[in-house]
């Protein structure tokens, strides 16, 4: 079974791109199942169900979705095996985009769009730099020059990645993505595999539902900024 992770900022077109790609996979008779990890709520499960494939949705609630994702990887992997899937696709909606869900030995896809700020690639570093395939969407509504500049930015951040332009509305480009997914290696188990990038510590009173502001309510791993003005640069 191929195990594929898909990450990307909100509204970048992850689900739209996947739906077109999965249609191509299904046409070839490939058995696909989808897992979707989100924070508070999502309709994406229904969108995948319309393709007639098994779907599992996990909502992380109060927990960071990326930290929720890792302990559930085995659950989702085993479920996909039970469904005798050829390909399991796991779509994650990271919360702060500090983390990357990519797993060593499993195909990792990141989806970003041409409309986002030119500095976004730097902001979502690990998610892009650890991906095997970077999908760029919304190329149909920006200029050729911007598409080229954006693509170049991606190449600089992740020189080894395959970069594909896909239109989430029409599905143009999704055939190439299908072909690349089919070339991914099969994996027998997820247990014992490693994430490509570490996930930062995130254990403080606010992680567990604290709402009150003030020093005395802050427990656990707390980091304070130094109250000095930033000179130039910025970021």
């Amino acid at each position: 079974m191929k195990f594929v992770t898909v990450a990307g900022p909100p509204s970048s077109g992850k689900t739209a791109v996947l739906i077109h790609t999965i249609r191509h996979l299904l046409e070839d008779g490939t058995k696909v199942v989808v897992g979707k990890i989100d924070c508070l709520g999502t309709n994406d499960g229904e969108k995948y169900q319309k393709l007639g494939i098994p779907v599992i949705v996990g909502l992380s609630g109060d927990i960071c979705p990326d930290h929720f994702y890792v302990p559930n990887l085995e659950v989702i992997f085993n479920w996909a095996k039970e469904k005798s899937a050829h390909i399991a696709i796991l779509e994650t909606a990271g919360l702060c985009h500090r983390c990357a869900p990519a797993i060593k030995g499993c195909l990792a896809i990141s989806v970003v769009d041409n409309l986002s700020n030119i500095d976004v690639p730097q902001k979502i570093g690990p998610m892009l730099s650890t991906a095997d395939i970077v999908v760029i969407t919304k190329g149909d509504i920006v200029s050729q020059a911007e598409r080229e500049v954006y693509r170049r930015k991606m190449e600089l951040i992740n020189p080894g990645a395959e970069i594909l332009e896909v239109n989430g509305l029409t599905g143009k480009g999704s055939l190439l993505l299908k072909t690349s997914i089919m070339q991914a290696a099969d994996v027998d188990t997820i247990t014992g595999r490693e994430l490509r990038s570490s996930m930062p510590a995130c254990v403080c009173s606010y992680c567990t539902g604290e709402k009150r502001i003030g020093k005395s309510f802050q427990l656990g791993y707390i980091k304070k900024i130094e109250a000095t003005e930033t000179k130039g640069g910025g970021g």
Binding site: I118, D140, S143, Q144, E148, V149, K172, L175
Partner: protein, 274 residues
């Protein structure tokens, strides 16, 4: 620029009803301008999309698109440039910074290239652009002119796919000439008679399929000449009205009652811009 594109071969697939396309094979060569004509829904954009994706019988049209003699099975980096009416600039920065960013992303040296793009842009656009203008504040016509000049000079892709250049205050004729000047293959889907007749060859689309290929004939060449005069006249009239003046004179071309086109002897337009 990587490998050279000498020709694109289209191998016919099926129409929307599943019948074989009338055109079974069509070769497009370096330097060709081809237009795609047909009503909305006839398959123009799909054909452009097949070319962009290098279809191999795996798209809804079942067409195949072959590059050169088939030695390339994927477009190389930046071999295809695209332009459509839906495209806008979204980056918020001055034109010159933007062009510099684009040029440096392609490893091109800067100043002469930027000047060349600005020069071309301003010869295409009715209203000149200043290099310090913000790209997001440009008008539709100015944006389109800048996109075309940028594609011609900085992108310099061997294949340009265009989904309609609208008549928004830009010199369309010159735009196509600029794009095809460097031996590119230019394929344009259009409803505009001027653009359609500018190409020596056009593919007539029908029901999702390539229905026939027409070559521009002598009579059409004459019509094209008249269209160019009419188009210039219309632009001049547009400028006159926009500058707050009264429209004057009848122009060099007048439609008579029977609807045919009659040419006056005067060479220059009667319309004056103050």
């Amino acid at each position: 620029m990587g490998e050279d594109i000498r020709k694109i071969t289209l191998i016919g697939g099926t129409t929307k009803s599943g019948d074989k396309e009338t055109i079974e094979r069509l070769e497009i060569h370096k330097g060709d301008i081809i237009t795609l004509v047909g009503p909305t829904g006839s398959g123009k954009s799909e054909l452009l999309s097949d070319i962009e994706q290098l279809a191999r019988g795996d798209t809804p049209s079942n067409r195949a698109v072959i590059l050169n003699d088939g030695e390339l099975n994927r477009w190389g980096r930046q071999m295809v440039a695209q332009l459509s009416q839906a495209m806008n600039f979204v980056l918020d920065m001055p034109v010159e910074d933007f062009l510099e960013l684009h040029a440096s992303s392609r490893g091109t040296s800067n100043n002469p290239v930027i000047e060349e793009v600005m020069g071309l842009t301003n010869s295409l656009s009715g209203e000149p652009i200043d290099a310090r203008d913000n790209i997001t504040s440009l008008s539709g016509g100015q944006s389109r002119a800048l996109m075309i000049a940028d594609i011609a000079v900085i992108s310099d892709a061997p294949v340009v796919l265009i989904d309609e250049i609208e008549n928004a205050g830009i010199n369309r004729l010159m735009a196509l000439e600029i794009l095809s000047a460097k031996g590119k293959i230019v394929i344009v889907a259009s409803h505009d008679p001027l653009i359609i007749l500018m190409a020596q060859k056009r593919i007539v689309m029908h029901n999702g399929g390539m229905f026939k290929v027409l070559e521009r004939n002598k009579q059409e060449e004459e019509i094209l000449k008249k269209l160019i005069v009419m188009d210039n006249e219309l632009s001049a009239l547009r400028d006159t009205l926009r500058m707050g003046d009264f429209a004057r004179g009848g122009g060099t071309l007048l439609m008579n009652k029977s609807g045919s086109v009659e040419e006056k002897k005067e060479e220059s337009s009667n319309l004056e811009i103050i």
